[in-house]
């Protein structure tokens, strides 16, 4: 399957499967986060959020609940995606520690992505619009190292692909799955997750406060 792609690792179907699995995993995380944006936006149209706001509970607890819920959902979705990949013949040389590292990295990505999409859900005027922006995240792996090596891309696209957040995340996952993690990719992935997560968290809190003033 992947053999005909320019610059793709030559070999059998299994090699390409191993190559694209990280892309699929990241898309899985991104897909769940679209749902979160819609759920948050729907909640905001409902009186129950006002009820929570007039109760003596932490103001951000509703949002934290959404993030935790989405992370549990993501864990299930990732298990299904990985299960399918193994059924199709995924081979991996990852050690137990590297599997744990992969799980941790994906959990962190899910945490960061959902805080960001919670903010998008709060920012959108209605649930219908809330799903538009996060949709881009599902497509981002295509213009990154998800499905073809970035070296094979035309220079403009390659410049974007090399510097967008998902590329180091997918490269780090790929390294962990192959049993040969790259320090630079992992650091890059952790850095991006921290930026997206902290940014999304602060933005969400701000929006939740100011949306109260409507």
């Amino acid at each position: 399957m992947g053999a005909g792609l320019p610059g793709a690792p030559a070999g059998d179907r299994g090699d390409y499967l191993t190559f694209i699995t990280p892309g699929i995993l990241v898309m899985t995380v991104a897909s769940v986060s679209i749902g979160t944006a819609v759920l948050v936006a729907t909640d905001m149209t409902n009186g129950i959020i006002d009820r929570f706001r007039t109760m003596a509970i932490a103001r951000s607890s509703v949002l934290t609940g959404h993030v935790l819920g989405a992370m549990i959902q993501t864990a299930h979705a990732l298990a299904v995606a990985l299960g399918a990949a193994f059924l199709l013949g995924l081979h991996t040389a990852a050690s137990v520690t590297q599997w744990l590292g992969l799980a941790g990295l994906l959990a962190l990505l899910s945490f960061a992505m959902t805080w960001f999409t919670v903010a998008l859900g709060l920012a959108g005027p209605d649930p219908e619009t809330a799903s538009d922006l996060p949709m881009i995240f599902v497509l981002l792996p295509f213009v990154g190292s998800g499905f073809v090596p970035v070296e094979s891309m035309p220079s403009g696209l390659r410049g974007f692909a090399e510097h967008q957040p998902f590329t180091p995340v997918m490269d780090a996952c790929r390294g962990l799955l192959a049993g040969s993690p790259s320090g630079a990719d992992t650091l890059g992935a952790l850095g991006w997750c921290a930026v997206i997560g902290v940014g999304g968290h602060l933005w969400s809190r701000r929006l939740y406060r100011t949306r109260a003033a409507k």
Partner: protein, 235 residues
């Protein structure tokens, strides 16, 4: 300044959205254990007043003490002392009639046994026993309002805000809800409600404030008010 005897004291509340003035300086005093009705047409500023007093919204100017606490400085204490039933249904439609108030009990840190007792009692009292096992979304409008009110009462607040509690309800559901409010009053709970209906204000309130264009244009008892406005009978 102590506020032992007044559940709500507000002075000079103002609020504008963009260039539009919604509240143009509202003063309110509601003694503990009484029912105050804010009467006015759509757009008079009733909901804005409730949102300010319940800490959902900051006023542009003015000050208020609710349950003895400043709404700005002690917002958390205000929230711990009040119960609010908003204009729009504040029930989780996917949870059942029993799970909804149980969620409130959990958030109010009631222990399990007490939570079960309180919720069971409220469901009984509000005629919701049949709805206990059903998803809240499947209930009629009247039942949902009663469930909404039951949820507000789980934490046993001494001051409750009801924003247009019977708007859109059938006459019979409206009378049921009035009965529930009267029971609360009998327990000594202070009630601040908004309504578009003079009849509702007349039925429930000790004092009525008439809000129009963001200003209190009249404030008195129902009887005085009806004398002041000939023809405004509660038919």
């Amino acid at each position: 300044m102590t506020t032992r005897t007044n559940a709500i004291e507000a002075a000079g509340l103002r609020k504008s959205y963009g260039g539009l003035q919604v509240l143009a300086g509202v003063d309110l005093t509601v003694p503990e254990g009484t029912v105050y009705a804010l009467l006015g047409p759509n757009g008079a500023g009733k909901t804005t007043t409730v949102r300010i007093l319940t800490t959902l919204l900051d006023a542009d100017a003015g000050a208020a003490r609710v349950a003895g606490y400043g709404i700005r400085r002690d917002a958390a204490r205000v929230r711990a002392s009040i119960g609010v039933t908003g204009q729009f249904s504040a029930v989780d439609e996917l949870l059942t009639g029993r799970e909804n108030p149980r969620l409130m009990a959990g958030l109010a840190h009631l222990d399990r046994r007490r939570a079960r007792a309180v919720v069971g009692h409220l469901l009984e009292r509000f005629g919701l026993a049949d709805a206990a096992g059903r998803r809240a979304g499947a209930n009629s409008g009247g039942m949902r309002r009663r469930l909404d009110l039951a949820m507000t009462l789980v934490a046993a607040p001494r001051l409750i805000f009801l924003d247009e509690p019977t708007t859109g309800l059938a006459p019979r559901s409206r009378r049921d809800l009035w009965g529930n409010v009267r029971e609360l009053v009998a327990d000594g709970v202070t009630v601040f409600l908004t309504t578009q209906y003079l009849e509702e204000a007349d039925q429930l309130a000790d004092r009525i404030g008439v809000l129009d264009g963001g200003r209190l244009v009249a404030e008195s008892t129902a009887a005085e008010l009806k004398r002041l406005v000939p023809g405004a009978t509660s038919s």
